[in-house]
Amino acid sequence: MNTTTSGATRDKVARSLKRRYAAEKRFQAYGIAAIALALMMILTLFVTIFGTGYTAFWQTMINLEVTLYPQDIDPDNSRDAAAGMIAAARAKGIGLDGDAHLLDPRTAKQQALESDIATLSELALGRPMTADNPELIAFLKDRFLPANIGDEALVKDSLATWLGNEAGAFNRAIQSADYLRPVKQSISDLFPEVTGRRDKRSLYEIVSPGATYVLRDMVLDNPDLIGQRISVTVPMSDDIDQLEKGAIKAELPESARRVKDNQIAWFERLKDRGLIETTFNTTLFTAGDSREPELAGIWGAVVGSFFTLLVTLLLSFPIGVAAAVYLEEFAPTNWLTDLIEVNINNLAAVPSIVFGLLGLAVFLNFFGMPRSAPVVGGLVLTLMTLPTIIIASRAALKSVPPSIREAALGIGASKMQSIFHHVLPLAMPGMLTGTIIGMAQALGETAPLLMIGMVAFIVDIPGSPFDSATVMPVQIYLWSDSPERAFTERTSAAIMILLAFLVFMNAAAVVLRKRFERRW
């Protein structure tokens, strides 16, 4: 009797076993399929981005022989006059620092303001004068400078302006000189047979307008180049660059592409002459934004992102941790605490653009903070990341075993001591993870920053959190929106750089966590 029952049980178990194992196998197969699908999507994403973007790290350049004729760069020969004025001013004890090519008119004016009217007028008219001297007033009026008899401040300011203009004339001249002419001349010299305005214009178009900046920087660096024939490497225009990279196809009919047939022919001849080279695109990493793709860089956005995240981190980490510690450890359990808790959880789910609108209404319109500034971006992103950090920190505090609190309380530590000496160090890895996840989220955030004006076209690299700036995701958005073909690859390259930063931050999170955990 007994054996038959157990035998029947054994058979039943054996039959069900097969079914149970099949179910398990099926479940595993579903899991593997899901993971494979996810991996494939990520792979597709990466292949697309890398495939489109890797060419952006290279730039087609041309070697040009440029002659910097003095009549182009400094037609008035202001160099000697400015140097003479600087020397004369220094002899009178007016401290003008820098050589003639470095001395900006505005800087010179500021430095001249430290002197008095008598010294300045002695420099201008050969003898010391007072503010009510009609001769001095006439001198200034002749030079279209404001001057009123007896108005010391105005006269002094005008005199300083005059001195600044004289001493900074050379600097201004080489800053604003027409560098385009030598570049055009140099290109023309390569193709002397090209005549006619239209042909010449399309010939000049194959070189980037950025060539002029290269020349200007060289001259500002070393004014002795004026009058010399120099060899410079300058970027080709974005369309020629795209042609070389294959993004613009020469096989297409001329009307269907941005590069004309004759431009292609010229480019081919330049290549044959060995004047074309491909270099690493340092501009992409060092420059701010630009309308010209070959001059545009991500660095302005990187610095903007850095300042924004710095403000976010400095605000959200201490506030988030303090709030979490209070709510978790000190707050009494009542309806108010429950209400706050529910609302924090709700805030985490609020669309980020709403925080942008809030920032616009509160920080910009009510408090009148600067538009497009990382400090405001940081404030808005703080609002957005706070719930994430608070929730993660509370979870980390909750996961600290109560036995540690009891141990500390049991030997007479106050509540504060038990939290700060024992609970917080144990919760810190979890808090840091939550913070870095929040930061990574903030790094990729675009919508709220559009609302507070960080979407502006900003060429300069921000120097502080109060300067106008944009951030990396917004830069990506701006580039993706630009019609130039060359911005497509730069968009992908910017995404790659952003991803690199995200990977770096996550790695930092892992390392930090390991470091803290090693202290048991």
Binding site: T333, A407, L409, I411
Partner: protein, 272 residues
């Protein structure tokens, strides 16, 4: 085990109140409520100095709750409410003027599960003296750490690895570390909440010997599930049942000649 409670607490059998000498701890008409639950019902007892007093009873009988009243660890539980009077050296510990930090420095505690701080062995011991400002110099602190570990019988085993994490010790060593940590604050009373329940028999016997030695200098109250342990280490034993202090007497008398039927049933293993 039944959870029904008798409407009226039964009076304690035995000698709950001392007839001669002054008690170290005097509890009078203590009631503890967890929300609506009446966890301790009208308990009055005296705990005498430099003796080991054991609390026994089935799970949920209130013995741990009562123990935790003695150093106000129940304060951390929001829904817990206590009335009655508990005095240590004739000072009411639930008085407004009584500072809970000071109380806990006076009444050390060892928990059921060894809970060393996740810090070095040295730091585990040094933490208490440091926050209370018991020592002024590093050398004094070293001395105190050594003497505490020696008294807990752990010094020989750990003296070469004081900078190693306390959590890396074996269970029995961790529990002795916790005892050393409690001793380092130089308390007068040590509460032990089932200190050996997570230890193997060898570690248990080491800790029991230790308790026996510590009796000379401290008043010890120990909660235990093991009746043989209560019989081995304690001088007096209190039997709790469903929140009542049923019987409190000399350990020997309670185990050999219990006056109350429930005590008899419990110590002979008929329920529990």
């Amino acid at each position: 085990m039944s959870t029904e409670q008798r409407p009226v607490p039964t009076p304690t059998i035995g000698i709950p109140l001392m007839t001669d000498g002054t008690p170290k701890v005097a509890a009078r008409n203590v009631n503890v409520y967890y929300g609506d639950k009446h966890a301790i019902r009208d308990v009055s007892m005296d705990i005498s100095q430099r003796e080991v007093t054991a609390f026994i009873g089935p799970s949920g009988c209130g013995k741990s709750t009562f123990l935790r009243c003695l150093n106000r660890m129940n304060d951390t539980i929001d829904i817990c409410r206590i009335d009655g009077r508990i005095a240590i050296d004739d000072r009411d510990i639930y008085d407004r003027k009584m500072d809970v930090v000071q109380l806990r420095a006076l009444v050390g505690m060892v928990f059921q599960k060894p809970n060393p701080f996740p810090k070095s062995i040295f730091e585990n011991i040094a933490y208490g003296p440091r926050i209370h400002g018991l020592v002024d110099h590093k050398s004094d602190l070293d001395q105190l750490v050594q003497s505490s570990l020696e008294r807990a019988g752990l010094w020989k085993e750990v003296k070469d690895r004081l900078d190693q994490p306390g959590t890396g010790l074996s269970g029995g060593q961790q529990q002795r570390l916790c005892i050393a940590r409690a001793i380092a604050v130089q308390p007068e009373i040590i509460l032990m909440d089932e200190p050996c329940s997570a230890l193997d028999p060898i570690a248990t016997s080491i800790v029991e010997d230790l308790i026996d030695e510590l009796r000379a200098s401290y008043t010890i109250v120990i909660v235990t599930h093991s009746m043989s342990q209560a019989a081995r280490v304690s001088q007096k034993t209190a039997f709790f049942h469903l929140g009542d202090l049923v019987e409190f007497d000399e350990t020997e008398k309670l185990f050999t000649n219990p006056q109350e039927q429930r005590t008899q049933d419990y110590v002979t293993g008929r329920f529990g």
